[in-house]
Symmetry: C2
Subunit: 367 residues, 2 copies
């Protein structure tokens, strides 16, 4: 194995792009000016100031349409628990985020797979699924998809919101990467297009501040948010008020926006380096070039066994997540690369190790 | 209404006893020395350093017997979800904490009430319940009971652990007030007496640091903790790493112990003032004098309607929680007073307002 392992596995930034000094200064300011809220019990919605800030950031929301949560994964879990029961038909993208897929499987819902295209969910396949019976909820990762790297087009956003109104299903707009497009402004959220009250949006500060703060949020119809906040209060009284106070200070002071600019630049450089290395060293690989976020989804030649490749790759000192983790079935010739944890100058070496592992596996002479 | 409302309702400290300056300094140190752990994703157990610290604090645990959680209420909810299914018989103290009672009711278990005595759970009644059929879990608030104010005797702790081994049921030792006895050292936990691996202990830093940090923990058999940590990881990836890093810094630096001494002194003064005022102004009230914690449970004359009294009291500018909230049935002549939020010099005025409300209600001339 050549040197330290290069991990394209985890959807997490490397430590060198965590804004630790800014968080330290924000903590000091928050605990000087906002300590009473930061250190006391709150209620289910979390820090009211952060609810207001998020509502204003979205531009079209009232504060009672927002609740802050301990990250957005648990927010999704609460939403699923609130809206879904066993046997409900739930549309999931293919591939989709492995953690939400597991949560849905544990609920005993009927999963209805819909494939992704370069511009997001295949709407024709969704319409076919709707014609076969009622759907309760569609889980849609709108921007810089995890794991697929694609972004849902504006046209499809409009169409999905129309379909939700027409067929009376919920859209869970799962959107942690919205603020990280490499070029231009984020697209309009489906939440902002929704006039029928059928969209619940989730996002988080894990990718714009740091994962360890565990601060996420839900935004949607005030009535549903009220019910979810009651459930949150019954489960954990309030989410983390201290972390939320610190995040709010970062938001208000402008540090959040400065950090987003910095992180986008770093991520784009990492993505560019990975794309260049893949084109050079792994020309058979097919992928959508990500326009933001953390992830690139790679299809290798039919018949490639990526779980076996992963075992071989680990012995070469490189890791990723094999495709089947993100699929209800199939995915065996695909894999997910997270470029967020790999500095640009390490990308070529990482891809070289993957290419080496692939060659060794195919030549029948594994390490 | 005479002046601002005096609230004996919420189990929360008043702002004047929150150690905000110490937390601010600890945050600054934690984010200088431990920022990588504080700002990154962890796993289901939370901050490994805090797991180790808690294990050492208990003195008889290995670190793999501890997982840090977002407060202890959600920890209990996870434990209930893990161990219990609909129809399981679950022993609950009467009265008991209203929030755990609600969580158990939502799970559809069969609640088996066991009354409290001045030294905790009535063991004879528990044995009678065990003779009627298998019990899956007993929820026991061991120290400075919420709402009853009593502490489980050492003798009963030994007996409960024996019964759990003999009858194969779990004890959930719910213990957020353990570190706050007004005199002497905390009693031995049931966890420390347990040789059969049937005790899971929960506690938190809400009452020793601050509620807003939302840092609690579970400790118990390594195998069960491992399963619960996996479930936690599936639900929220990791608990709040930032808050845990700050709490760990308070623990290591000695600030936690200094704050516990300060808080115990304040709470004892508040409790003493409340007890003196009750004896003087409400002589019919019967109660166990708390030996720690936050709460005093008050029985008024038979036939008193404490929910009606609460409505009257609110118009007098005082509040509390009426007894039925803590009971499966009954409790109508009881109420819970939390002395933690009421400074000692306000206790007499608060009790005077309750006495006034009671007199007015009984004289048939409500405000």
């Amino acid at each position: 194995m050549a040197g330290d392992t290069i991990s394209f596995a985890r959807g997490a930034p490397s430590a060198d792009i965590l804004p630790h000094e800014q968080v330290r200064e924000a903590a000091s300011r928050a605990l000087a000016s906002d300590w009473e809220t930061a250190l006391s019990y709150g209620v289910g919605i979390g820090h009211p100031g952060l609810c207001r800030w998020v509502a204003e950031r979205h531009g079209h929301l009232d504060a009672d349409q927002v609740m802050i949560t301990n990250g957005s994964l648990e927010a999704g879990a609460m939403l699923f628990g609130h809206l879904l029961g066993p046997g409900d038909r739930v549309v999931v993208e293919q591939p989709t985020y492995d953690r939400t897929l597991l949560l849905l499987q544990q609920l005993g819902v009927e999963l209805v797979p819909v494939r992704l295209e370069a511009d997001g969910l295949d709407v024709g396949q969704l319409e076919a699924a709707l014609s076969e019976g009622p759907v309760k909820l569609a889980h849609v990762i709108a921007n810089a998809h995890n794991p697929a790297g694609c972004t849902l087009s504006t046209e499809k956003r409009h169409r999905l919101v129309e379909l939700a109104a027409e067929h009376d299903f919920w859209i869970f707009e799962d959107d942690p990467y919205r603020e990280l497009p490499f070029e231009g402004e984020p697209l309009q959220t489906m939440l902002s297009l929704d006039e029928g009250g059928k969209v619940v949006h989730a996002s988080s500060f894990s990718k714009t501040v740091s994962p360890g703060v565990r601060v996420g949020y839900l935004a949607g119809p005030a009535e549903e948010i009220g019910k979810l906040a009651k459930k949150a209060n019954e489960t954990y009284i309030s989410p983390n008020m201290l972390a939320e106070s610190i995040v709010l200070e970062l938001c208000r002071s402008g540090e959040l926006d400065r950090n987003i600019e910095f992180v986008k630049g770093e991520l784009k450089a990492r993505c560019d380096a990975l794309v260049a290395a893949l084109r050079e060293q792994l020309p058979e690989a097919e992928f959508v070039v990500p326009d933001g976020g953390y992830f690139l989804w790679l299809d290798l030649a039919e018949g490639t066994d990526t779980p076996a490749l992963l075992a071989e790759a680990k012995s070469e000192g490189v890791s990723f997540v094999a495709g089947p983790d993100f699929m209800i079935e199939g995915g065996g010739n695909s894999l997910r690369l997270s470029f967020a944890p790999v500095p640009a100058d390490r990308a070529a070496e990482g891809v070289s190790r993957i290419a080496g592992a692939l060659e060794r596996m195919r030549s029948g002479s594994p390490a």
